[in-house]
């Protein structure tokens, strides 16, 4: 990890008059078993859920106050599918105190997204095999990168390509509706984008139930967003190829526009950056966009999210860097948080020191799911002292939250420090030997001792 990046953590910016004040929920991806954290605007932990397994991607707070998440128990995991960094075997609902109140086990479930629908059912996405005659017709992707090349099989069978069954699960655990991707997607219109493996067609990372009951999904492998007509099963709208690259987390706004994170991975031109765009699905025109002043400073190639807040601000999760920030409609940054939790062990491409986080969510104090809940930083006092905002001095004392040695080098020697201040002034240019201060002899002696101690 670069020294520059590890220098600051927790909340690094907060403009209370301009933010949408509330509580932010996030789940660091790499430490396991997972913890789900709720922080206030100052970065203090106000609630923590300890989970019995690994939330590969994200958890969400339901309006009833429970958490909903996809969970992986590594000891029970399918040895082949676990290679997919977004595989999970079950979906759980957990109450405020950590009791699992609902569970649905599906050994072939993808963890990317679960949706609690208005009717109380739950939408999940489950891996299915794309029939071989269809798989060969699918265009695009990295040549020769079908499932066997990654060691992926389905229930012990070798398959070329995985697709999804979109399933609606009733509270009793019955599948009440199913939609198969390979029956509806078009091998040409929904071709796999060039830098993606030919393993998943599509690679859904979002499921959204729209107000009219239709379902919007977003695929990182085919670079597009589609809307599925729930009644007929047809794909009634699709957009994105050639416009957005490895997109994540679309949401439908009240004005009818769609907000989405355009990760930008594989974009042919530009400096290699991400942006958040709001576009009108009727005209496909981009009506609002956020990118950094120096575009490369906001770049998350493979994960991340964005959500429009009630006051018009946008909360953005720069996933691979574990950084969340809130921007106003004019693009001004008003809040920023850097996740202080790191894996500490090697896992896939994430490295040892990854604080990657798939998405974050902001809930206002009026959110139904937070009513009557005790949001008290005191109860997590130890965590707040170790990883809260006060644990990270703003300058000079960078920290890795205890994961790594501090990058400050030698302890300073009192003998050198005691010199009169005027002499301590760093010079604008290199000091020539003849410019040595008169007290150089004495000083020289001290420095020599110090150097000797340092091994010179």
């Amino acid at each position: 990890m670069s020294v520059a990046r590890r220098a600051l953590q927790s909340v690094t910016l907060y403009r209370p008059d301009k933010t949408y004040n509330g509580f932010t929920l996030f789940t660091p991806m790499t430490p396991r078993p997972s913890n789900v954290w709720l922080i206030d605007m100052q970065g203090r932990f106000v609630h923590r859920w300890q989970l019995p397994g690994w939330v590969r991607l994200r958890a969400q707070l339901l309006p009833n106050g429970n958490l909903l998440f996809g969970l992986l128990h590594e000891d029970e995991a399918d040895a082949s599918l676990v290679r997919l960094p977004f595989y999970a075997g079950e979906v759980d609902e957990m109450d405020w105190d950590g009791n699992i109140v609902w569970q649905y086990k599906e050994p072939l479930m993808d963890a990317h997204d679960q949706v609690r629908m208005k009717n109380g059912n739950t939408l999940i996405q489950k891996y299915v095999e794309v029939p071989e005659d269809i798989a060969v017709k699918v265009k695009g992707g990295v040549p020769g990168s079908e499932a066997p090349a990654w060691g992926i099989s389905l229930e012990g069978r070798e398959v070329a390509m995985l697709g999804y069954a979109l399933q609606e699960i009733s509270p009793e655990g019955k599948v009440v509706w199913e939609w198969l991707t390979y029956e509806h997607l078009d091998p040409e219109l929904d071709s796999i984008s060039p830098p993606q493996r030919r393993v998943l067609w599509p690679g859904w990372n979002s499921l959204v139930e729209l107000p009219d009951g239709n379902i919007m999904t977003c695929s990182f492998s085919t670079d597009n967003i589609i809307i599925i007509d729930k009644a007929t099963g047809d794909i009634k709208w699709r957009w994105g190829q050639g416009q957005i690259f490895m997109p994540h987390n679309p949401s439908m706004l009240d004005n009818g526009n769609i907000l989405v994170l355009d990760n930008g991975r594989g974009r042919p031109v530009g400096p290699g950056h991400s942006r958040v765009i709001e576009f009108n699905p009727e005209t496909n025109e981009i009506e609002w966009a956020f990118e950094e002043e120096n575009p490369v400073n906001f770049d998350t190639s493979y994960i991340g999210g964005c959500e429009r807040l009630p006051n018009g601000n946008t909360l953005i999760c720069e996933g691979e860097r574990g950084r969340f920030f809130e921007v106003t409609a004019s693009g001004e940054m008003v809040w920023e948080y850097v996740v202080p939790f790191y894996a500490g062990e090697e896992w896939m491409w994430y490295g040892r020191y990854s604080n990657a986080t798939f998405r974050c969510h902001r809930y206002g104090p009026d959110y139904p799911g937070l009513q009557g809940k005790k949001l008290d930083p005191e109860k997590l006092d130890l965590w707040n002292r170790l990883y809260g905002p006060d644990a990270f001095a703003p300058y000079g004392r960078p920290s890795m939250g205890g994961m790594e040695r501090t990058p400050i080098m030698e302890e300073e020697e009192p003998s050198v420090r005691k010199e009169p201040e005027a002499k301590e002034e760093p010079r604008p240019s290199v000091v020539r030997p003849e410019q040595k201060a008169p007290s150089a002899a004495k000083k020289g002696e001290k420095v020599r001792t110090r150097l000797q101690r340092l091994g010179y």
Binding site: N294, S301, E320, M333, P394, V416
Partner: protein, 419 residues
């Protein structure tokens, strides 16, 4: 700029026991200054040039600066890395040699015989262009595809050797990356003349490096080529250099690499076995990512100086991949295409024993290794912390109380440096 990084001082880290102590040369893109600074980030010399970089400068062993300047009215203005002028200036900034060609691109190399190898662009004849494979269909530049040329220029400014890439490329092997635009076949961004006279050339749009045999013009070695499969090894790489051990060091940007995530790495390849013998990448890997520029230099003590171009971040790593020095350029410029950035194409480190620094006053090893140097380091390091003063102007340092005279001197010096 990312808030969490904005308020930190340019020098982020310095371990003087492990670093290769010397001076760092860099030319911020968009500006007209070439800066030489010491390990503490204090500027010790500045050249002001008549042109913005096109796209970097190097300190020659004779003490002159060889600098490629950008011709703003050139015929290929929106090809990244376009140049136009090569200037050799002495320590005081007097022009001692000059070469102009509006088609110059990216890189140059001063050879031992005094000649200069340069890269430039040329449009490809239609019948050759028709055979080129790959790239995004229909993205030719007004129907034309350009390619690269090597020119060897003698001190009189005459072209004494020419090599046209499109005459030697094999359309079946040298395929444009499927995610790149089809207006350039190759996009050479580096040429390095090896001791045997052959030339290493790096082609970003093909994610491939090649060695051109000087005597025959044949391409005698390729690395990174192949289809766009999982085995593809390079992505938009930059800055190959030939090392004393016979290996090639290069900056692999990782752009358009198949399979997520995006990250850069610096690798050392053995051209005999085609094996990667050393690799630096960050932990987590996306922490070090430069999509389109960047450089790597092997230092005499075995460390490697890396330039993460778009972020203006220079850092030095040991062979065990430990960061021992890190600096972020404080020079920001506004670009229509890239926003406000401190991007820098490459950075070079020169030790006090470098021949080009002889007689400049910077060749005294005591400045870098002597007690005075360590003393100033130990003064500044406990801080590395920001003070009001050091925040305002890079290189100015703090101001002590009651030192009006010193401050006056400092101010006049700063003025001289163009602040």
């Amino acid at each position: 700029m990312v808030i969490s990084q904005r308020d930190l001082p340019p020098l982020r880290y310095y371990d003087f026991k492990k670093a290769y102590n010397g001076y760092t040369l860099f030319a911020p893109l968009g500006g007209r200054n070439v800066w030489l600074m010491d390990m503490m980030g204090r500027f010790v010399h500045r050249w002001e040039m008549p042109y913005t970089p096109g796209i970097h400068g190097r300190l020659l062993p004779n003490g002159n600066l060889l600098y490629a300047g950008k011709d703003p009215n050139g015929p290929v203005p929106d090809f990244g890395g376009s140049g136009g002028f090569l200037l050799e200036v002495d320590w005081d900034g007097n022009v001692v040699w000059e070469y102009a060609d509006p088609y110059l691109s990216h890189d140059f190399f001063r050879m031992d015989n005094g000649n200069t190898m340069v890269l430039k662009w040329t449009p490809i004849p239609e019948e050759v262009a028709a055979k080129i494979k790959g790239g995004i269909p229909g993205t030719e530049r007004n129907g034309v595809i350009w390619s690269d040329v090597l020119h060897e220029i003698n001190p009189k400014g005459e072209v004494i050797w020419e090599w046209l890439a499109y005459e030697h490329f094999d359309p079946d092997i040298d395929v444009i990356c499927p995610l790149c635009i089809r207006d350039r076949w190759g996009q050479a961004n580096a040429c390095y003349v090896m001791p045997d006279g052959n030339i290493i050339v790096s082609y970003a749009f093909m994610s491939q490096i090649q060695i051109v045999e000087k005597s025959t013009g044949n391409i005698i070695w390729r690395w990174g080529h192949g289809d766009y499969g999982e085995g593809r090894r390079l992505g938009f790489q930059h800055n190959p250099t030939f090392l004393d051990n016979g290996n090639i060091l290069l900056f692999d940007n990782g752009r358009h690499r198949p399979i997520a995530p995006d990250y850069s790495r610096v690798i050392e390849i053995n051209p005999k076995t085609n094996e990667v013998e050393w690799e630096y990448k960050a932990d987590p890997p996306p922490d070090f990512y430069s999509a389109f520029i960047g450089g790597a230099q092997r230092l005499p003590n075995g460390n490697t100086l890396i330039c993460e171009g778009p972020k203006g971040r220079f850092f030095e790593v040991t062979p065990t991949c430990e960061i021992v020095w890190e600096y972020i350029s404080p020079f920001y410029y506004r670009y229509a295409r890239f926003g406000t950035t401190n991007m820098t194409f490459r950075a070079y480190r020169y030790g006090p024993e470098y021949p080009g620094l002889k007689g400049t006053g910077l060749d005294d090893v005591n400045l870098i290794y002597g007690p005075e140097a360590f003393e100033s380091i130990s003064r500044a390091m406990p801080g590395l912390s920001i003070t009001e003063e050091s925040q305002q102007t890079p290189g100015a340092g703090g101001k002590g109380p009651g030192t009006a005279k010193k401050e006056e001197r400092l101010r006049s010096r700063m003025k001289g440096l163009g602040y």
